[in-house]
Amino acid sequence: MPSLGADMEFGTLVQWRVKPGDRVRRGDVVAEVETQKGVFEIDIREDAVIGELKVAEGARVKVGAPLASLLTTAGAAERATPTIPTPAISPEAVSPVSAPAALPSPERLRVSPLARKVASELGIDLTGVVGTGEGGVITRDDVERSTVRGAGITSEAHVPGTTPAPPTPSEGPAPMAGMRQAIAAAVSRSKREIPHYYLTRDIELGTAMSWLHSANASRPITDRILPAALLLKGVALALTKFPQLNGFHVAGEFRPSADIHLGVAIAIRDGGLIAPAILTADRLPLADFMRSLSDLVRRARSGGLRASEMTDPTVTVTNLGDDGVQTVLAVITPPQVAVVGFGAITERPWAEHGLIGVRPVVTASLAADHRASDGRIGSQFLAELSRLLGTPEAL
């Protein structure tokens, strides 16, 4: 069971799309999994032959637990996938609309008081956390690590004194409550752990917007490009020069990513937020980028996101311009180290060469992890973004 976000502990295997003996290729969808954030397609990372299916449809499975065994294409070695080891696996069959699935009643948990407090603040269910302290005591580190691995939070988890979320994800208001909790856990952790710094820069888009309007005038409706696609592609390209902003801060150190998988914050219609990635965004030509973006937005809202799109974002962009906001100072999604924000593109007075004109302008912002980069890097990144958006034909 892959972790589909920093905040996931369990997933329910909704449906298998393969059976033992099936030959699969990297990228093929092998199963569908439901989490607090909806239903996702699990795509496989390598070519293989499906061995044994270890989990029944309807089972609720802990992150890290094997779903199936794979035979390598050579057919010899059999091994479990994914490779993350996990303690007790107790997949329980739950029918999608049945009464709440009862968790196995846990043995008395040994928890440090601080760990209990942190878990309560984050809405983490301690029964899912593995203690590494003396005698198996759950420590604060264990709790916080559980949010990193995605273990710990369940849709049943709740802060004492508040109304517990209804536990079955496919019923009534439950998905929303689950998503709210998932977001709460991720942003709380971000603000607790990540020393953010913030920079903003106004970017003049006169050239970019005229280029876009004339490009769109000669395109069929179905191939039209939104200004947002231009901004996001600019971010992906600018990041190629600033590896300090693209990657993960894990285990006390920053690990840059060779690929740029651009997480796009997408508002879910009934509320909530999800940030799946456009994979290798810097290498997509603008027209392909636009198609990927609209496809991603559609699937984020109607289902069909892939596991790889959820696990892989190396950086995030949030575009709040549609409602007219000018500046967005965003919260970094851990373990990422940067988030770029865009407000509305509006006509504003713009002084240049001693003259004032009226131009389309957007305020771009960067929130970055000060452990991984400094303000100078961030300001150079925004300058590069501005330069790129001034030459839209090169995007």
């Binding site: 039209r224 939104l226 947002a228 219609r269 973006l293 609209s294 937005v297 559609r298 549609d322």
Partner: protein, 87 residues
């Protein structure tokens, strides 16, 4: 094509991107964006959907005239009529 058909196609396109909306609650003479939670991607999806059903071109420069359902319907009817006259 009569007006109710065009109107139905427009409502259908809106329902496709915003299934939670009750069409009867939309006031057709008021700004759509204020009543239905639509972003620019949703609006583009609606334009594409309507284009594919009615086979009319909707230039980007006309988007600004398409803020209410009534405006969208009369705009589309005018475009359809212009296409038929040209034949």
């Amino acid at each position: 094509m009569t007006s109710p058909d065009v109107r139905a196609i427009v409502f259908d396109a809106i329902r496709r991107v915003a299934p939670e909306v009750d069409p009867s609650s939309i006031r057709t003479s008021e700004r759509l964006r204020g009543q239905v939670d639509l972003d620019s991607m949703d609006f583009l999806s609606i334009v594409i959907d309507v284009h594919e059903k009615l086979k009319v071109e909707i230039p980007e420069s006309d988007y600004g005239r398409l803020t209410t359902i009534d405006e969208i319907v009369s705009y589309l009817e005018a475009r359809i009529a212009a296409t038929q006259d040209a034949r």
